[in-house]
Amino acid sequence: MSRLSEDNVRLAAEIIGRYPRPKSALVPLLHLAQEQDGWVTRDAMVHIAELVGTTPAEVYGTATFYEMFRFEPVGRYLINICGTMSCQLMGAHELMERASERLGVKVGGTTPDGTFTLAHAECQAACTEAPCLQVNYRYRYRVTPEQIDQLIDDLAAGRLDGEIPPHGVLARVRQSIPPERFVGAPEPDAHATGPAWIGDAQ
């Protein structure tokens, strides 16, 4: 149960500053919270509400709309197996059965040691590489049931630590705009004239 760390509050301020309205930063800030704790805690949502100037209910309302946010702890590795058409045609069902058997959990379940959560996913935009899956949103293509076993072994042994960060860590490279290069988010209700460079062209 934690609020955002000081570092994340600084990062949050930077992100909020890029948007004309602070509330636009809600989803990116929820990702920050999930990165910090592995899931989105109640305290983090209250904190985010303070940061963007809205109510915790608004934050909760937005957060619960989106698939990726988790409101209770999940495994260190979230394995999402795609089951939409191209993957379904190419054997997604067998993959899911194998993973479920190997991990000893049903779809949606987490292993007792908290290492793995197994989930069904919808189309992951890798249809030509079916059947596919993601571990913490990192792809594995044209996966066979045997490869599932190997993948689970490798993850459990920490052999993929460099490539696959723990659940919650999305992009490890962040956008960072140097202040001197930043134009600034135009206030929507300023009734501004066109930007200087557009002149009288339009």
């Binding site: 636009s24 190419m90 919808e122 249809c127 590489e129 992009a171 134009v183 339009q202």
Partner: protein, 474 residues
């Protein structure tokens, strides 16, 4: 396999297959480091932007209009026309890039974001210059961690090099490109839902009218929403002119487009094809495309344009991949995604995989989609599980007719023989998610009703349905 044509793949661009064809948006794909600024600049990157900045915004806008570049997100609306819909004299105006690719079968925008983010950024800047847009938000689907990393790194490089932000390339042109992360919601691909999401709300489509966010969009201000592939075409057009672009493809749909062909084909892949000249037969059977059905089996059916599109069979193989011909034939090209089913396919189960998707992704705003999608899913699930009754098949059509009135006047029409598929569907929902849940059911039941019948074990006659069908005719 030597079939006389050179075909190339690169491990760093998984799924992409290059052939003996012009490449506009994938021109850098052979380079492993195509996502770096160094490689981009060495291969003509940002030259289109430089060329654009030497001309007035109006001239660049006119050039794009003349190129007849069609939107690649699904609707195929001309980009130049869309930009022209912003009301005169209203500011600020925003550009929102739709990188929320998630239509079943579609895999192209992710490849473009991962492999050539600078081309996309350059496209955004050209659009901002031409349409006079004040700020750009690049909305990337949450599940695409690598694309987000590549775009973030590319933006950091481009800002440092003076290519984005204040006084771009030393001119008065100043615009920020902000990377925004999604968090998993298919419906957000609908442009008004995308805007709601970007405002920090639940990503539900807005009621129409207004039909175009170009008039009232982000924060109520004029907003252009363009697809990743659409914008990725702009550097070529700005650099080489619209004539060079229209020289490729056909008059009604110039240029190239990215098509993902997946399912039971020998070589599934993402292909950049020349618009209008390639038929579905070429795509599925061509030596430099998919090389036929796996194991030499027969084709049963294919989805021509993403999960929302009504299905085709071998009868439509000779149609070109061209909107003006696929539309009248009863389907659509959508987002450039062909999914192929061979003769071994369990059709009801395949249809269910799509209906599951749309039922799951319904945002819940419109009752016919929220309730109807779930009904379709439940009924179809029990049919596929061998627990259905023959009344279930008519029930599927009745539920569908509540989402897409006119698709079936009433259930009994299925017994009377169906007319040509009335597509595009009328709909009782704000956006296309609802009808999309029904499209696969509609297609599968129309084309392969016998396969559904074969799964029905309980034959019961339900007088209520028969009576309503008899009495409810139109």
């Amino acid at each position: 396999m030597d079939r006389g044509r050179a075909v190339t793949t690169w491990p760093h661009a998984p799924g992409f297959v290059a052939g003996d064809r012009p490449r506009i948006v994938t021109s850098r794909f052979e380079h492993e480091d195509s996502y770096t600024l160094r490689r981009s600049l060495e291969t003509g990157g940002y030259e289109g932007l430089k060329a654009a900045l030497k001309r007035t915004p109006a001239e660049v806008h006119e050039e794009v209009r003349a190129s007849t570049l069609l939107g690649r997100g699904g609707a195929g609306f001309p980009a130049g026309t869309k930009w022209g819909l912003t009301p005169k004299g209203t500011w600020p105006r925003y550009l929102v890039v739709n990188g929320d690719e998630s239509e079943p079968g579609t895999y192209k925008d992710r490849l473009l974001m991962e492999r050539d983010p600078h081309q996309l950024i350059e496209g955004c800047l050209i659009a901002c210059w031409a349409a006079g847009l004040s700020q750009c938000f690049l909305y990337v689907r949450g599940e695409m961690a690598l694309a987000q990393e590549r775009i973030a790194a590319a933006l950091n490089e481009a800002y440092a090099a003076g290519l984005v932000g204040r006084n771009i390339l030393g001119t008065s042109f100043s615009v920020d490109v902000v990377l925004h992360w999604g968090a998993g919601a298919y419906v957000v691909g609908e442009e008004t839902a995308l805007i709601e999401s970007l405002e920090g709300n639940r990503g539900m489509p807005r009621l129409k009218p207004p039909y175009f966010p170009a008039a009232i969009g982000l924060y109520g201000k004029p907003t252009i929403v363009n697809n990743v592939e659409t914008l990725s075409n702009l550097p070529f057009i700005a650099r080489n002119g619209s004539a060079a672009y229209t020289a490729i493809g056909t008059a009604t749909s110039p240029g190239t487009r990215m098509v993902a062909v997946s399912g039971h084909v020998a070589r599934p892949g993402v292909y950049e094809i020349v618009n209008g000249t390639t038929t579905f037969r070429d795509l599925i059977y061509g030596a430099d495309f998919c090389q036929g059905i796996r194991g030499g089996r027969a084709l049963k059916a294919f989805v021509p344009g993403g999960g929302s599109a009504p299905w085709f069979t071998a009868d439509q193989l000779d149609l070109p991949f061209e909107a003006s011909q696929v539309g009248p034939a009863g389907s659509m090209l959508g987002s450039g995604a062909v999914m192929v089913m061979d003769e071994t396919t369990d059709i009801p189960a395949a249809a269910l995989s799509l209906t599951n998707f749309y039922a799951h992704e319904s945002c819940g705003k419109c009752t016919p989609c929220r309730e109807g999608g779930t009904w379709l899913q439940r009924i179809l699930s029990r049919v596929v599980a061998g627990e259905g009754t023959d009344a279930d098949l008519d029930q599927l059509l009745e539920v569908g007719a509540m989402i897409c009135p006119g698709a079936f006047p009433h259930a009994s029409s299925s017994r009377l023989g169906l007319d040509a598929v009335p597509f595009p569907y009328k709909m009782t929902t704000i956006c296309f998610v609802g009808p999309s849940a029904f499209a696969p059911v509609h297609s599968a039941l129309t084309l392969f009703r016998d396969e559904f019948e074969a799964k029905i074990v309980k034959r019961i006659s339900i007088p209520v349905i028969a009576a309503s069908a008899a009495g409810g005719g139109q």
